[in-house]
């Protein structure tokens, strides 16, 4: 019975995580001229320079934030999609099917994205 309370709380928490991490993305990628953090862009002026990308890729911090952002975005987005679909007033059985399908899709994408983040991290460390 308390399911929606839990899911909503995690939905809000995921939203906050997205807000913070997207804020970080904005600072690093788009506000670099204003907020200068040399350790995040050690190789030059442009944040998208390959050397900067590779340097960030070697940092554990970024590998963790990629996975965190992926998890938060997947949960926030798929829960929102579930809410929209539920407003179409499906039958109880279909609601369960939709929830399970979204769970499987979300978990699958999370595993795939996590693998990509870890693989990218390993590759960057080997360069």
């Amino acid at each position: 019975m308390m399911r929606e309370q839990k899911l909503w709380t995690w939905h809000v928490a995921a939203g906050l995580v997205i807000l913070v991490l997207l804020g970080l993305h904005m600072v690093i990628m788009h506000l670099d001229a204003i907020v200068k953090i040399s350790s995040l862009n050690p190789a030059g002026e442009e944040p998208v320079d390959w050397k900067n990308v590779a340097a960030r890729g070697r940092m554990v911090f970024f590998a963790v934030t990629y996975v965190l952002l992926l998890g938060a975005a997947l949960f926030h987005g798929l829960y929102g999609l579930r809410n929209i679909l539920f407003e179409l007033h499906p039958r109880a059985g279909l609601k369960t099917t939709l929830s399970v399908a979204l769970l499987i899709v979300g978990f699958g994408l999370f595993v795939l994205g996590t693998w990509a983040a870890v693989a990218g991290f390993s590759l960057a460390r080997s360069l």
Binding site: E4, T9, N83, H89
Partner: protein, 275 residues
Amino acid sequence: MSETNAKTILYRVRRYDPARDAAPRWQDFTLPRTAGMTVLDGLWVIKETQDPSLAWRSSCRMGVCGSCGMVINGRPRLGCNTQVSELSADVVAVAPLPNFDIIRDLVPDLAPMFDAHGAVRPYVIRDDVEERENPSGEFGQSPHELEQYLQFSYCIKCGCCMAACPTYATDPVYSGPMPLAQAHRYNTDTRDGGFKSRKDMLGGERGPWRCHFAGECSRVCPKGVDPAKAIQLMKREMVLDYLRLRKGHVAASVVPKPSGVKRRPDIPEAPPRTA
């Protein structure tokens, strides 16, 4: 305005008798316009002079009982609380509240609303049964504590907010603004200790989670209650409760009777309990 000078007013009334009509239809009535005439007054004139079969629900005629909620010129309002002159229109279109089945003409079936209302246990819940059954005094409550729920207690259960809610229109599981606002009203009342017993229901699909914060419920409320605010505050309370950060309260205890004072002779004793 020109319409206020007119001597007559056109009422366009939504009619429906499930026993005879296949679908609702509009019926026009022209009636004399009088000073201070409310929409409800006009319906009475129609019933007394033109069509005695017209049905609606009303009682107090002073915006207190909440019986005469109806859609007037596209907006849910109380018929008794709406003057024809304030509509600034030549036509008064009256229809039953949407989002409910129609019993007849302007009479909606409000039973689902009151079922949802009852499900949130809208009364003070306390563990001290003896004090509840045989009260020995008043439960203490400060003006600040009263202020936390006072506006929500002005609700007269007219159903206007339910009729305006876009979520309630499409989601039959959603409890709607009135029951949820009343749940918040009692959860916030410091005399109440029933948050846990309401939590199971509110934490599920019938709770506040489907609210989009459209705010229509608050816009149409004839008593100035803000159900949309109550629902957002309830969401916050429920989230804090899940995170175990909610500051709960112990149900207020009985305030000791004042001692060492004499009753003024012109102030009578309280009458004996009747219930």
